[in-house]
Assembly symmetry: C2
Homo-oligomer: 390 residues x 2
C-alpha cells in the first residue's frame, strides 16, 4: 500500500521533506521525475537513469497505449519488465494529450477519441479505460483522466473542464481495483483562484467517507499562461491542500519554478526540459543556462559545470561536447541530457538539505532572484514573486 | 616504444595470439578495433566503450583534421584527452578518403587536396602532414598516407597507386620524429597477387638497414571486389609478411571475413559494421544476423542473443528494442550498436581461446561454412574457401 511520511516541515514556508513509499520503492521528496514518455527518457537507457540516481520515472499512458499497445505490455509482464526499470513509475493519464493534441481529438462526457497521427486509426480513452490500462501497466502512481483547458479558454470553459475533471475523477475512483498502486486526482481551474478553490473542494469531497487519495496533483499550469499567473495561482493554493499527502505539480518546469513551487508545498515534479534542452546543447549549471554551441566553448577544456558530480562533467569537456554536436553525433545531445537530469536531481537534493537545515527560505530567495536563473528554460514574461511564503 | 610479442602460433594455420604494447596500453591480438571516426564510436561514449572491454579505438586523421582541427586537439592536450579515452588509439591516415571521396579530391605526387563538403574550403594532406598530425594527436598507431585505387581500376592504375604508396611510405618514415608511437605502412596491389608481392617487397625494402616498421597493414581489400578475389588475395599473402610484427587488415569486415583472415595470419581489424548495422536494427548473434524489426520480435521477451554477456543482452528484450526503434528513440540504435561491438569483441576472445587450445582450424571450418554466417553483413557474391590454411 502506498504511504507518505513527512519528515521535516519548514517553519517559514510550506516546503517539506518526506518519503513516499510506492509498490516498487521509496522515493525522497521533493523529487524530480525524468520523463520517459514511451518508457525511456529519450536517448537514455534505464541503466543510465538509475546510475544518475533517479528514484522514479514518468511515462505516458496515451503514448504507450498508442505505440506499444496494452497486449504487448501485458505479455511482457507489465510496464516495469517491458522497459527494464525496477524502480517506481508514474504514468500520466493522457489528459495532457487532450490539451496538446486538441486538433486531433473529440471529447464527450463519456471519454475522448483521438485520431492517431501514426496509423490513422482511432484511439478511445475514458476515465475507466485509463485506470484499467494503468493497472495493467502496474504503474506505481496512476493519474485520473482530466480535461485540461487551453490557457486562452474563457472562465466558463475552464469551469466546465474543472467540473468534468471532478466527474471523471469520481468515475476513476470507482473503476479502480488495485490498492497497491497509488491514484492521484488532478486539480484544475486555470489561473483563476476561485475555480482552483472549487476544484480542490470537489476533489476532496470525493474522498469523504471513503479511502483518501494517495496524493493530489495540480494540473493546468505552465501551459502557456504568463509567469505572473503561474506564480499567483500556485501561491494561492499553497495552504489549500491536505498536508498528509504528496502534491504533484504536473509538467513544471524551470529550476526557478521548482524552487518557488517547493516553497508553496509541492513535493513532486516532472518536466521534459532536461531532455528537450539537452538534445539541443542547452545545459543547466549552477551559474545559469549555457549553450554549448557558443563560440567561447570551442576550446574550453572544462566540464559543463565545475561543481557537478555527474559522469558527464567528470569525463567530458565542453570542447568535446561541442565537437560532437558539430559532427551530428547523437552522443552529444545524450550526454547533455544526462547532465541536465543530474542537475535537476542534484538541485532537489540541495533543496532537501536546506529544508532539513531550516535554510530553505534563504536559499529560495537567493535562487529565485539570481540573475543567472531568470531565463532558465525560456520563460514567458516576468513575475513579481511574493515577499514571503507564509 | 611499441612492442609485439607472439604468444601462441597455430600449427595448422597462420593464426596466432599475441600482445601488442603501445604507448597507452597493451592489447591482446587478434583484436577488433571499433571505429570512432571523429573520436567516438557513433552514439557511444568512451566510458561505454571501455565498459564493453574494448582495448583500442580507431579514429580518422582526415575527419578529425577537417572537423575539429589540429589547433583544438593540440590545445586540449592531444587526441586522448580531447575525447576522454585513455587506452590506445589507431588513426587512419586519410588514405581511405582518397578512395571514398574520389569525386572531391585532386591527387598529385606531392599530396592530395580535398574540397571540404562542409565549409567549401580546401584541405591538403601530404605524407609528411599526416605524420605531423598524428604525432600531434599522439596516436598510438599512426598510418602512412596511401593511395587506394578503386576495385574497378586497371592493372596499370593499381600498379601506379602501389608505387606511389611505397614512395609516400618512404616519405612518411623520414618525416616521423616520435618513436614512442607506432607507424604502420600499407600494402596495396588490389586483387592482383603479383602486385601484392611487389608491394610487400617494396615496403619491406624501406626498412632495410634501418628501424623496422612496428606493424604492417593490408589496404585495398573489401572495397567492392567480389568475395572470391578477397579470399584469394588474402590467402596469397598469408605467408608473405614478417611474423614478428602485427598485421592489420584495414576496414574488414564481416565475422566470417575476420575468422578467415585470422587463419591467414591477420592480427588487427576495424570495421564500421557494428555501428552502421546497429543503428538500423541489424544485430549479430551466435545464431546469425537478425533484424530487430522482424515481426517475430514484436513480443519476444528474450535478449538479442541468449549467450551474450553484454549489458544490452543482460537487460533489454528484443520487444523493447523494437518498440524503441518504432518510436524513433536513438536509444534503440545505440543499444544495438553496443551489442554488435560486444559481439565482435567476444568473437575475438573466443578465437584467441581456440588458437591457444589448438582448435582454431576446427572452429574456423565450422564458422565459415555455417549457413547462418553466410550473409552476415551483406556480402557480395559467394566464395570458395581454401581447404586448408597451410
Amino acid at each position: 500500500m502506498p504511504d507518505f511520511k513527512v519528515h521535516t516541515s519548514d517553519s517559514r514556508s510550506y516546503a517539506r521533506t518526506g518519503k513516499l513509499t510506492l509498490k516498487n520503492g521509496t522515493i525522497e521528496t521533493p523529487v524530480f521525475m525524468p520523463v520517459g514518455t514511451y518508457g525511456a527518457v529519450r536517448g537514455i537507457s534505464s541503466l543510465e537513469l538509475a546510475g544518475l540516481d533517479s528514484e522514479i520515472m514518468l511515462a505516458n499512458t496515451y503514448h504507450l497505449f498508442s505505440r506499444a499497445g496494452i497486449e504487448l505490455i501485458e505479455k511482457m509482464g507489465g510496464l516495469h519488465k517491458f522497459v527494464s526499470w525496477n524502480r517506481p513509475i508514474l504514468t500520466d493519464s493522457g489528459g495532457y494529450q487532450i490539451f496538446s493534441l486538441a486538433a486531433d481529438r473529440k471529447i464527450t462526457e463519456a471519454g475522448v477519441t483521438f485520431k492517431s497521427k501514426i496509423q490513422g486509426d482511432k484511439l478511445y480513452l475514458s476515465p475507466e479505460i485509463v485506470i484499467d490500462l494503468q493497472e495493467k501497466f502496474g504503474s506505481d502512481v496512476m493519474m485520473v483522466l482530466d480535461e485540461l483547458p487551453a490557457s486562452t479558454a474563457s472562465t466558463e470553459e475552464v469551469h466546465s473542464a474543472l467540473k468534468r475533471t471532478t466527474r471523471w475523477a469520481e468515475r476513476a475512483r470507482k473503476a479502480r481495483s488495485r490498492k497497491d498502486l497509488a491514484l492521484f486526482p488532478i486539480i484544475q481551474g486555470g489561473a483563476n483562484d476561485e475555480l482552483r478553490q472549487l476544484s480542490i473542494k470537489e476533489i476532496l469531497q470525493l474522498e469523504e467517507h471513503s479511502d483518501p487519495w494517495e496524493g493530489i496533483a495540480i494540473g493546468g499550469l505552465s501551459v502557456g499562461e504568463v509567469k505572473e499567473k503561474f506564480v499567483s495561482t500556485l501561491y494561492g493554493m499553497r495552504n489549500q491542500l491536505p498536508t498528509d499527502r504528496p502534491r504533484y505539480l504536473m509538467g513544471v518546469g524551470t529550476p526557478r519554478d521548482l524552487v518557488f513551487a517547493i516553497g508553496c508545498g509541492v513535493d513532486m515534479f516532472d518536466c521534459v526540459l532536461p531532455s528537450r534542452n539537452g538534445r539541443h546543447g542547452i545545459v543547466m549549471t549552477t551559474k545559469g543556462r549555457i549553450n554549448i554551441f557558443n563560440a567561447k566553448n570551442v576550446q574550453d577544456a572544462g566540464p559543463i559545470d565545475e561543481t557537478c558530480l555527474c559522469p558527464v562533467c567528470k569525463t567530458y569537456s565542453r570542447a568535446f561536447l561541442r565537437h560532437m554536436f558539430r559532427v551530428e553525433d547523437t552522443l552529444a545531445g545524450r550526454l547533455c541530457t544526462m547532465h541536465n537530469i543530474a542537475y535537476f536531481l542534484q538541485l532537489m537534493k540541495t533543496i532537501r538539505g536546506h529544508i532539513e537545515n531550516g535554510s530553505f527560505v534563504e536559499f529560495s530567495n537567493e535562487f529565485i532572484h539570481a540573475p543567472e536563473h531568470t531565463f532558465l528554460g525560456g520563460e514567458k514574461g516576468f513575475a513579481q514573486y511574493p515577499e514571503t511564503y507564509l
